[in-house]
């Protein structure tokens, strides 16, 4: 009897404690929006927080609350929040993470919510990255091309032709240059391919590689054709035939290759444009580096990207206010601030004209010149892509790059095993 009374008391206490739980409803009728940002670099966090502050100062009726999220866990965290009906109103993410949320009905269709100014400022090719079915489920606002970061001194001394966005290397030329730069325990290039799939697929667009082919009935098939083999074969041959690329870096992330780059082991490293920030911070005094465009193929400098996006939760009771905040955040001058904070490129055409993005300092101009060539990543809207990537493509590419399997087996595994996986998502 005493025990039963104790349990009842405990439960009552627990429920009473529950009343201390969070409640964002405002007593004065003011709308409060939660903006979950994934900004993580010092300048980027500062830029986001300043913009939130500016919004709050000029919009007394709609308060925005900055909530820090993290790239590392955003998918799981959002999924749980959506399921529990507790998602933030404004969601920062990457376009390649949106498909499941968009198809799952968790994100609001922004077509009727966004002003014409913002719709027309961002090119259609960028909107394609966030278009799923008929709807638009995110505003793409920052993106970065993959570029070659090169040791400028080494390049100058070797006498090789230095490529520009107007006159880039072809893939064949790139392979020759890498071979010319290597020798004596030094390598022309270091490919950090710990995550080989998106890097390979995005760069393969330059050679006309598509890999994913959508049939008339809307179903997607994997077909590994000649154009899809250009980039993988270059990497494979550089590592296994020419010895111009280090095999040890195949298992590394981008940051892991930087000490070797600074130490003079590698002449070039293909990295995202934003890695310049780390290079500026970490490069030894006097280290001379420069940004080169990635090699061009049959389709020129085209490459795939998954831009950073801002979305609105379908469950948000204040979708219009949330869209208005996104519009404010992505005004050209603000988009530039965000881009500079993240060392990335803005998607907006007005923002891209800003002189700050055309300086030679830190080679901003080289990256900005590549913006027009960026397209939606090939796997962007393919349902089942994450599973295909993890179970089939990652091990297959890793084995191919390390020389464990040949091109035919790579093709067989990507197509046969891959299509079995995709078929389960398209029944």
């Amino acid at each position: 009897m005493r025990a039963r009374r104790l349990i009842t008391t405990l439960l009552l206490c627990l429920l009473a404690g529950g009343c201390t739980g969070d409640d964002t409803a405002s007593d004065d009728g003011r709308v409060t929006l939660r903006f979950q940002s994934l900004a993580w670099q010092e300048e980027s966090v500062a830029a986001n927080k300043e913009l939130v502050k500016e919004w709050n100062a000029t919009h007394p009726d709609v308060k925005v609350e900055y909530v820090q999220g993290s790239w590392d866990s955003v998918h799981d965290q959002l999924l749980t929040s959506f399921e529990g009906g507790e998602a933030p109103d404004i969601i920062h993410d990457a376009s390649d993470d949106l498909a499941d949320f968009a198809y799952g009905g968790y994100l609001a269709d922004l077509r009727e919510l966004l002003p014409e100014r913002l719709r027309s400022d961002i090119p259609e090719r960028s909107w394609e990255t966030t278009t799923f079915g008929d709807g638009i489920y995110g505003v793409p606002f920052l993106q970065e091309p993959r570029v070659l970061i090169a040791n400028a001194t080494w390049l100058r001394e070797s006498g090789v032709r230095v490529p520009t966005p107007e006159n880039p290397w072809t893939w064949a030329e790139f392979r020759e240059v890498a071979e010319e730069l290597s020798g004596d325990g030094r390598y022309g290039v270091a490919w950090p391919l710990k995550e080989p799939v998106s890097a390979t697929l995005n760069l393969s667009l330059s050679a006309g590689g598509q890999l994913f082919h959508r049939d008339a009935d809307g179903k997607v098939q994997v077909r590994f054709e000649a154009a899809d083999a250009v980039v993988p074969k270059t990497v494979h041959d550089e590592v296994n035939s020419d010895g111009s690329a280090s095999s040890t870096t195949l298992g590394m992330g981008g940051s892991d290759t930087l000490p070797g780059f600074f130490g003079g082991t590698y002449a070039m490293v293909p990295l995202g444009f934003s890695y310049r920030q780390q290079i500026v911070q970490q490069a030894p005094e006097g280290f001379d580096w420069q940004v080169l465009p990635a090699p061009a193929g049959a389709d020129g400098l085209t490459q795939g990207v998954s831009p950073q996006t801002l979305s609105v939760a379908e469950d948000s009771p204040h979708k219009e206010e949330a869209a208005a905040f996104i519009d404010f955040l992505l005004r050209p001058e603000n988009m530039v601030r965000l881009a500079l904070g993240d060392w990335m490129l803005p998607t907006g055409t007005e923002a891209l004209k800003d002189p700050a993005l055309h300086t030679t300092e830190h080679d901003w101009a080289t990256g900005t010149a590549l913006a027009a060539h960026l397209r939606s990543a090939p796997a962007q809207s393919v349902r089942g892509y994450p599973e295909w990537k993890d179970k089939v493509a990652t091990p297959a590419y890793q084995e191919y790059y390390s020389g464990a399997i040949d091109l035919d087996e790579l093709r067989e595994r990507l197509e046969d095993d891959g299509n079995l996986v995709l078929a389960r998502y398209q029944r």
Partner: protein
């Protein structure tokens, strides 16, 4: 005799190697925390920073609310440890002293429950807590930590209770002590090291826990240290290494301090007072 000395030397060498192995990540973390950015990118890293700096700590504190997060972690971990021990101790006593089929099944269930992955329970748990209005609240998080730590805590304590000879309780009864007096004066002191060890386990489990805190706490003021530490990591695993190391170093300190303080209680006093003088 010579063989014995050689064996002992080998043992010490193995122990030393093991200690170095265990200490390496922590020492490297400390070293990294004091290195300037340029040294972090060196191809030939050194143990002792050539040009030690506190900039990483300054940046870590500037960028993230580390103190608030540490306080939140402390509240969650202490709360979980205290509540888990309060619940587990009487349960463990009953399970250890009254061995029935039910208690054996309960022990089996306790072990099996440890195999449940977090993702399996997180959504139902989220919904339950939401209905109780315990999302984004410390009581909610503590409740989850208690539930999560309880099976293992119970399992640990059952072992400790069994190690206390039942004859001592019987002897106390013969001397005229009642059940409560026996538990308080005889059993509890002998169980103290076990209770402390269990509390430490629950504390460290909660202190290091990331996923539940990530999902259940929404507002920045309530986030715990492991969640805040991930804010130094960017897309594709790129990390702001210096500030991350500085923050992670600070995050390990409370665990070390708590362990250092409590460690004596775990090792000392085992079965102290078991023999009447």
């Amino acid at each position: 005799m010579r063989t014995g000395r050689a064996a002992r030397t080998g043992q010490y060498a193995a122990l030393l190697a093991y200690l170095v192995f265990l200490a390496f990540p922590f020492l490297w973390l400390v070293s990294t925390a004091f290195k300037p950015a340029r040294e972090l990118g060196s191809l030939h890293p050194t143990w002792i920073p050539k040009d030690p700096t506190l900039d990483n700590f300054r940046q870590a504190f500037d960028e993230q609310p580390l103190l608030q997060a540490a306080l939140n972690s402390l509240v969650a971990a202490l709360g979980a440890a205290v509540v888990a021990v309060l619940i587990a101790t009487p349960m463990a006593y009953v399970m250890a002293r009254h061995r029935t089929t039910l208690s054996r099944m309960a022990t089996g269930w306790v072990v099996v429950s440890q195999a449940f992955p977090f993702v399996l329970v997180i959504i139902p748990l989220f919904l339950v807590l939401k209905n109780l209005r315990l999302i984004n609240s410390m009581p909610g998080l503590i409740m989850v930590y208690v539930v999560w730590a309880l099976p293992f805590a119970l399992w640990m304590l059952v072992g400790y209770v069994r190690a206390v000879p039942a004859e001592l309780e019987e002897a106390a009864a013969v001397d005229g002590a009642g059940k409560l007096r026996t538990l308080v004066s005889v059993t509890a002191p002998l169980l103290a090291p076990g209770i402390v060890a269990t509390a430490l386990f629950a504390f460290i489990t909660a202190w290091n826990e990331f996923f539940f805190a990530l999902v259940l706490l929404k507002t920045p003021e309530k986030q715990t240290l492991p969640v805040v530490l991930t804010h130094f990591i960017g897309a594709e695993g790129v990390a702001d290494l210096g500030p991350l190391a500085a923050a992670a170093f600070l995050a390990t300190l409370p665990s070390l301090v708590v362990f250092a303080v409590i460690q004596k209680r775990i090792t000392g006093g085992m079965l102290a007072g078991a023999v009447k003088s």
